[in-house]
Symmetry: C2
Subunit: 177 residues, 2 copies
């Protein structure tokens, strides 16, 4: 039994490492991903100290990463009455978690670029006014088009959990045919 438990922890850790590795290649902070992986895969509530011990990270790092995870809405903080320590828990719905991450990253790292491109586009001479910039204008507009479609997908799939679920069902059904 103790041995089994050890083996399970080893497997969990393997996953935590892999999740951290992948996430950091997508621009998500490694520690954040590792904490999230831990809470996600075990489904337990952990205190900050437990997280620190398990992942071998510093208190400051744990604190900042947990704050970010809470801001993203994928981790919640609890405190039992009469207790001093906070405990942290992940959403137990993988899809909801997935949708939240998508939403948050879009909001933080796609929308500002869309605005920037539109702003830059606004400084170009109007269509037909200056022939040498028309090609560039076209290309900018093509890019804006991509952002518009991303918005469309977002509105239709990631806006809330219900939409995500029905979008997935739809894709699944479509794929069967």
């Amino acid at each position: 039994m103790a041995l089994e438990q050890e083996k399970l922890v080893a497997i969990e850790n393997q996953f935590i490492m892999e999740w951290g590795r992948m996430s950091s290649s997508w621009g998500i902070n490694r520690t954040m991903a590792q904490i999230h992986a831990l809470l996600l895969v075990t489904g337990d509530a952990y205190s900050m100290d437990e997280i620190i011990d398990r992942l071998g990270i510093s208190r400051g790092n744990a604190s900042m990463s947990l704050r970010d995870l809470m801001e993203w809405g994928v981790v919640q903080r609890f405190r039992r009455p009469g207790d001093r320590k906070d405990t942290y828990m992940a959403d137990d719905d993988m899809w909801s978690m997935f949708a939240k991450v998508i939403r948050e990253r879009k909001r933080r790292e796609l929308d500002p670029t869309k605005s920037a491109i539109k702003e830059i586009l606004g400084h170009l001479p109007a269509q037909g006014e200056a022939p040498e910039s028309d090609l560039v204008r076209n290309r900018f507009e093509g890019l804006v088009g991509i952002f518009e479609v991303i918005d469309l997908i977002y509105e239709n799939a990631f806006k809330n959990d219900d939409q995500l679920r029905s979008a997935i069902d739809f894709i699944r059904d479509n794929a069967k045919r």
Copy 2:
């Protein structure tokens, strides 16, 4: 006219910087994104020297980044007969470019993690065999489910350019209703 040209270059540069900034927050090398942005938005063919001058980067960096962009299939190399220098050009179809980037990143940074998770899952005791690991197993399976749906989306939208186009049309039509 010369002034106009200067202004246009300034606008292009602004975009190149923004594109580099955004891309690096998504785990894409900044120089790669900047070169791509330059070729993409101007639509011109550039020699390596022109790229080096325009972006102020080193020869080695330019060479490696261009190789990667070619591997991703979003930049092509040409040489005019009787010429010594290679010239580089981006795909002039924004959507095709977009699809290629998605494909490449999935193949390199999502598929290996999917395999790793399945591999790890294989080491867990079978369902019902060890009660303490059943919850963890469930959660792993939830994650695998996410990867399966990503595959499904990929098969139905990013497998080739035609599919991407019809997927977008479909989303657009759906959104109208």
